[in-house]
């Protein structure tokens, strides 16, 4: 039995590596979140979000938080067939929105108010109705109620590419406290992503819509 599992695992990994092609695992350096080229960064990468000292201790979802938080109230996603309960974004998603809702400058950090707003293409705004819902519990019960979602407790998914991959359940790989957040699809640090610049730091390959079909059983 053990040997069978080993072989299956090896085969799965081999197949996935073949599917992924030669894309190499990436780091934040050179990614969309590498701010070294921006004048305001002083050649630093991490500073927009993190600092070694005097950080915002009210932020529990990320360590050593350094960016000004958004006070926006968001318009939430809704749909007549939605089974999940959506609430105002919290957790890591709210930290993403502190740049990506377009209300706070990217360079508003360390107590300084900046003026460089996020580029229009990457600005989601405060209307989250037009985006995939976040901040809802995605569990076995939701999968059952929805009818065309995989059970996150048993469905497995592989994130990352090249040598930086991880395989586990949807719950373990994509969810945060059983919740779907921005981080379910995107890896802010470009650790476990498909790699190439311009691919939105997504954790699963969009080719063949694999990223969608990791959860949606269509």
């Amino acid at each position: 039995m053990k040997s069978l599992k080993r072989v299956v695992g090896w085969l799965l990994r081999s197949l996935l590596m073949l599917a992924m092609g030669p894309t190499l695992a990436a780091t934040i350096t050179g990614s969309a979140h590498d701010f070294t080229a921006s004048a305001w960064s002083g050649g630093r990468i991490c500073v927009a979000c993190h600092a070694p000292h005097k950080t915002d201790t009210t932020i529990a979802d990320a360590p050593l938080w350094n960016h000004t938080s958004s006070a926006a109230t968001y318009t939430l996603y809704s749909s007549p067939t939605l089974k999940a309960t959506i609430s105002q974004p919290g957790g890591g998603s709210k930290l993403c929105l502190s740049c990506h809702d377009g209300t706070i400058a990217v360079n508003s950090f360390g107590g300084v108010t900046g003026t460089t707003m996020i580029s229009p293409a990457n600005n989601i705004g405060t209307n989250l109705k037009a985006s995939h819902p976040i901040g809802f519990t995605y569990d076995t019960a939701l999968a059952t109620a929805n009818g065309s979602l995989f059970d996150p407790a048993s469905k497995t998914v592989t994130i990352g590419s090249g040598t930086q991959t991880k395989t586990g359940t949807v719950n373990a790989m994509l969810l945060y406290g059983n919740k779907m957040e921005c981080g379910s699809c995107h890896d802010v640090h470009n650790t476990f992503t498909v790699g190439a610049l311009g691919t939105g730091l997504v954790k699963v390959d969009p080719a063949g819509s694999k990223i969608c079909l990791s959860c949606h059983n269509k």
Partner: protein, 565 residues
């Protein structure tokens, strides 16, 4: 454990490999069993001919994670807006307007106005194979004229179901057929764009029209031949079921005559615009046993179903105002069955007009169906035989209050009709179709289809109606024994049969407001072309006195002037 017992060997590597491959396939299959294998997978991996040149993403053609419109369901395509022509019908109570909601977004591909590869999330159009841009012509391209498609985007309320009739209460739609959140019927009520396991992305299989009948509960359908018949197509002529892959009448059910999209006959969504063609496609001898079509196309006297198209309306009154005839004026295709008796099953579930001139629904006697057009409707043709008393309203001719009438509505007036051939008696009633019928049908001893579709005899008579001396095959002799008739005076003189029975007798009857028992008993209503008055001017006489049994006719060269018979 097994090793310790030494009962099994260590699995061979090759077997393990095969088992592993099988396990992978089984694990992976659910991913690809869904939309990936359907025509809605427009990516390069799609199974259809309409697919991308290189794009690998399946969902992107409809959905995106950000910046979507409309937000639900994360739609990634432009609003076709479009000035659509919605479905309409003379009996519609739902009055569908411009498509909304799920239907409108389906049309962002299926109306053929927006390129399939034009999605909001991409700066440039996704290239499709074979140079395809918008939806190629065919059954998937509905165009912006939706008047030949099942109505969508209307509120399907219980009030509608009650008012319209023959519709399920929407509260019963708890299965796969669903209304949208606002209670409207949309494309998604019948179609699931992600699941093609039933074909045509239908939410349930439409075998025997199960999907249609989730909502449409047609009266009489349960016993209808069109529901029950196992007949198949013999392969000759036109395929009666071009838009299904079902092979029997019962399996095609609604789709024998209807199609939900791109219907030829818009009102009622019939397969063909010419009403009769919906019937001919099976009733031409290629599916149904009898060839009804040839009755209409090969005979001189017919109910002219092919003359008009689009005149017949579901909303028309029982008494037809604009005279026309379509198959559906006499037959209810949802009700037709093999029953025999007072009313043939072929005439089941049809409206009629009773002896009082009022609608009966459904008709219980055949004549009530005939009365729809041959009674109170305006525009009746002139009677074939010019008679002293002129009447073209058959309802008035057959009234049982008349001085005489053929026993259609009830037994006849006379208690003494010695010529009647058993089992007919003076207590019998007959049908219009006992005289007006197929010249080659069972009533005439033939094998052709029964019913007054067509005849080689004028007036759609089953047998000849002599204008000269009647022969043994004459329609009148079908019931009235020729030997008895010709034995009794005045018929025993050959002169009196010289111009046929019609010279003296009016075969339908003489209305009570026009005739009297003295002059119009025994269906006497003289032909004015065969008979001339006796005398001239004010003194002219033209009658047979059936009480005094005297004759005042100037006929066959002889003026009878009150001669007894």
């Amino acid at each position: 454990m097994k090793h310790r017992l030494g009962l099994t060997r260590r699995p061979r590597p090759r077997l393990v490999l095969l088992a592993a491959l099988a396990a992978i396939l089984l694990t992976v299959t659910p991913l690809f069993a869904g939309i990936a294998t359907t025509k809605h997978n427009l990516s390069v991996s799609g199974p259809g001919t309409t697919k991308a040149v290189a794009e690998t993403q399946t969902c992107v053609f409809c959905h995106a994670p950000h910046n979507t419109s409309p937000a639900a369901p994360l739609w990634n395509r432009s609003n076709p807006g479009g000035n659509y022509t919605p479905y309409s019908s003379s009996t519609s109570l739902s009055h569908p307007g411009q498509p909304t909601g799920a239907s409108l977004i389906c049309l962002s591909c299926h109306d053929g106005t927006i390129a399939l590869g034009d999605v909001l999330s991409r700066g440039s159009r996704i290239g499709m194979a074979a140079g395809v841009t918008t939806m190629p012509a065919g059954n998937s391209n509905l165009g912006t004229d939706l008047s030949n498609d099942h109505p969508v985007s209307f509120a399907y309320t219980s009030n509608l179901a009650t008012a319209r009739g023959e519709l399920a209460n929407p509260a019963t739609l708890t299965g796969r057929v669903k209304l949208d959140a606002s209670g409207q019927l949309q494309c998604t009520s019948c179609h699931d764009p992600h699941d093609d396991s039933n074909g045509k992305f239908l939410v349930v299989p439409n075998q025997a029209s199960a999907l249609c009948q989730t909502c449409h509960l047609k009266n009489y359908w349960g016993a209808s031949d069109h529901k029950l018949s196992a007949k198949t197509w013999n392969g000759a002529g036109t395929n009666p079921w071009p838009h299904t892959n079902l092979t029997t009448v019962a399996a095609n059910a609604c789709e024998n005559c209807h199609r939900p999209h791109l219907a030829g006959g818009k009102e009622g969504l019939q397969n063909y615009a010419a009403e009769e063609n919906n019937c001919y496609t099976c009733h031409n001898g290629n599916v149904a046993a009898k060839n009804i079509q040839s009755e209409f196309t090969s005979k001189i006297s017919i109910h002219p179903v092919a003359t008009n198209t689009g005149v017949h309306s579901l909303a028309e009154s029982a008494v037809v105002q604009t005279r026309h005839v379509e198959c559906a004026d006499c037959h209810n295709p949802h009700a037709v069955n093999a029953a025999t008796g007072t009313l043939s099953g072929s005439l089941a579930g049809v409206r009629g007009v009773n002896s009082g001139g009022n609608e009966v629904k459904p008709a219980t006697f055949e004549y009530q169906i005939c009365f729809r057009c041959h009674a109170d409707s305006s525009g009746q043709p002139a009677p074939r035989t010019a008679r002293k008393i002129v009447q073209s309203n058959t309802r008035l001719e057959f009234a049982t209050t008349n001085p005489s009438f053929h026993p259609i509505e009830g037994p006849g007036k006379s208690t003494k009709v010695p010529s009647l051939i058993a089992p007919l008696t003076t207590a019998s009633t007959i049908k219009c179709s006992d005289c007006h019928n197929n010249n080659a049908g069972p009533g005439a001893g033939g094998t052709g289809p029964a019913g007054p579709h067509g005849s080689t005899n004028p007036a759609l008579l089953e047998r000849p109606y002599a204008t000269g001396a009647p022969t043994a095959g004459d329609i009148c002799y079908k019931c009235h024994s020729q030997s008895v008739v010709t034995r009794e005076p005045p018929h025993n003189r050959t002169e009196h049969l010289r111009y046929g029975c019609k010279a003296c007798h009016d075969p339908h009857g003489i209305s009570s407001t026009q005739g009297t028992a003295q002059y119009n008993s025994r269906l006497i209503n003289l032909s004015t072309t065969d008979n001339k008055p006796v005398g001239t001017g004010a003194a002219a006489k033209l009658y047979v006195d059936t009480v005094a049994r005297t004759c005042y006719l100037n006929c066959h060269g002889e003026s009878h002037s009150g001669r007894s018979y």
